[in-house]
Amino acid sequence: MGRKWLGEFEHQVLLAIIRLGGEAYSVPLVLELEDRSGRDVAQAAVFIVLRRLEAKGLVSSRMEDSTETGTGRARRYFKMTSEGRDRVRAYRQMLERFWDGMDEAMGEGQ
């Protein structure tokens, strides 16, 4: 059960991939994460998390290397797998269970 937990940043990256249409590479991911979190995001952290997610089978990747044709850039696109979607849903459900009934408690604390 322990191996199936998502880390917080892993969760954010997966959500960002979904928001970007289900497939993205590091540059738009970084910009999306910075916009959503309001803080700087290290591109290296995104690289590492994407590799880890791929190793876990939650995303798959493909290379688009237009440098060979001399017309553009090389990019590595990452796409959510069905396993990845299931894990994100499960994570959301877990968060919702934790937050269940919290509105009232948060409201009383204010």
Partner: protein, 875 residues
Amino acid sequence: MSWRRVSPWVRRLLTHLLSEHELRAVISELDELNEVREGRVGATRAARAYSRSARQLALQLLGQRMRGIAGAGLSLRAVVQSLRALSRVPVFSGSIVASVGLGIGGCAAVFSVVNALFLQPLPYPDADRLHFIVTESAPNWYPLSVVDFQALKAQQTQFASVAAYMRRTRTYTADDGVAERLAAVFVTPDYFRTLGISPVLGRDFVGEDGLPGAPATVIVSDGFAELRLGGRHNALGQLIRLDGNSFEVVGIMPPDLGPLGSSTPIFPALRMQTPGRKGPFSYWAIGRLKEGVSPAGANEELAAINRNLFPLWEDSYQDDRATWGARPMADVVNGDPQDTLVVLLGAVLLVLLIATANAANLFTARVSQRRSELAVRSALGASRKQIVGHLLVETGILTVGGAAFGLLVAWGAIQLLPVVASGYLPRLSEVRLDPAVTGFALALSLLCGLLFGVLPAMTGVGKDGLGGQLRAAGRSSSLGGGKHRVHRFLVVAQLAVVVPLLTGAGLLVATLNKLQEVDPGFEAEGLLSMRASPSRSAYGSWEVRVALWDRVLAEVGAIPGVFSVGLADGRPPSRMPQSNNFDLEDDPTPPGESQPQAPWVAATPGYFEALGVPLFGGRMLRLADIDADAPSVILVDQEWEERFFPGGSAIGKRLKSGGCAQCDWTTIVGIVGNVPYAGTGTYQGGAVYSPTGYGVTDGYLYVRSAGNASAVMPLVREALRSIDPTLPLTEILTAEELLSNGLAGPRQLSRILTWFSATAFLLALMGLYGTTAYGVQRRRAEIAIRIALGGSPGAVSGRVVRQGMGLVLGGLLFGLVGALAVTRVMSSLLFEVTPRDPLTLLGVSGLLLGVALLATLVPAMRAANVDPTVVLREE
């Protein structure tokens, strides 16, 4: 900002860690994000972010790669956690680091000697081409003579250069008149050139320095120049007085001169004068082979030169079987310490083995103690690989600790080697903790780590994980039966290893005792000896020396309390003056055979009286025996008489000494008691005494007095000062000190081996105690039930003792077999003790059984004191 401006090491790392496609994509995406950021936050911040990202990515990927290599769990966090965990069990951690480190340090120290003597070349350029050129007369070999060397130098073609040297001592008189005796090596002009070293200041010797009648010159060591001549630059050109003669300092040598120059302060130029006879053979010749010349080829030429030389000097030398040969310099310098080194290396390896077995025992127990904790880790999702990896981190930390401590011990032991091992190992000043020795220590540490850590870690965590352990009852350190069998096996193995060590130490101690029982041949009580070395310039002639010694003996003999005084050029038990060959009239040496040899001591009649050496037949030497027209006479000892005239008398027999066919016959006039000069317990084949003690150039004075021998020393000094204030007295020793010094080698070796075996014994006993105690702990419930059902505590403790002693007996039996096999290598180190000496074996067995019994008694008594109600309530 671009990829090219990223640090080279980051670029290199990423190039190594990523595939070509991946790297292209990373670079491209870094560039793309940089362009976006330049627009948002400016070029500087964007560039910083670019570099940081590249660097972080490289380090993260490297960390992942290292974790992959080392298995799960290796991260900085894991190391820190393991360090904390080990620091909470300081006794456990300290025991492993200390015991394994001691073993590694000892092994590394002994290996450093092996390395210096046999694995490293001599510290001279192309040292494998350096050879000693010696006279080979099987079974003996000895130096060359002046005649030999001059012929060698003139005729040889196989050596790039040849040189000769002679070790002597000389009295150095400083400007303030203080005299001291110094070691000197007299060298021919090509000596340093042959070795491949040269002075750092001044000049080397040239051909003229070696010519008879040339001004006396000397090259000095760096240390001598600094300490006595006011520094290197002041020393050059100074005149120093050696034995009253002035020598000009022409060169200063560098500090490290290797085995043929270290510890020597002065190198006077050797000026050879052709003598009237072939001998004496006092000059060690060295040569540097030319490139491409083989030793076999050189030996052929050497033999030919010797063959051509022989007929020219046949009158004074008849051994036509003797030839010349070249021996590798390393072999001659190292001598023959192999047996000693094998014993030492074997001993330290055994100690290390025991220490490692102990560590394995401790580590296995720790894994067992932590089974609950490890089981929880497993339940929380840690794989077996991760758990084993976690344990391996601890092993790694302990291994590193053991290696570091071991290197410290090795360094300390190497500093102590010249003090504790100089009696039986050569060239200890060249022994160092160099990269080879360090590498050896680290490799040994790795092996120990594998043995004491990896095996217990792998076996302690079963293939099916540790989940079942959570269901196990009790929190005590209960071991499964299988794991306890491992402990018992380790204990038996440790004891089996201890037995050969204890046996070896016991044999050496027995040897030392036997050597101490050897009759020294003289009476030690009240006997004092000292070295007296008159200067050659003042006492160069025979007559002047005879007059000096005659006066010295008379003045010292007149001191109140002095019973007798004598003089000789040898000193028992291990300072042989020279060995001489001779031809017996009754049994002449057949042509083509080597003449017999024996120690030849020049002595005065008082020498025998002072030492208390009895006269068994014939007459004592007299002063008149050295008169010019007196017939040549000698004394021999009983061993010599038995060797050459078994069952008969040697009195009146005649011989010709030194191979001199034209010399007069020498007659044996008396037989005296045996006195050793070749070392206590070493066969020397008898000794010969000539009356020329009155004319020695460098002799030992022997004074026998009533009471404390040292008490007369001030009076002896005063007496000699009144005759010649510049006559130095050195090496002042009582007879007890002489005998003790003569046994320094065997004593040092026996002490070291005793220390090793005591350490190993202690470690093995710790293992025995621990295993017995664990066994009692494991079976507490069973013991409690037995007592509750009426069993006597005595029976319970007896059972524990029987089980413990069963292990001891097993270890002893295996150990005795090992001891019988292993101690054979020590044969050459023993004296009147066989490697299978039954007394020693019995003693070791008794010691092991007795002390081990005590080690098992404590846990046995604890078992007897088990309170059944407490234990059963816990269960």
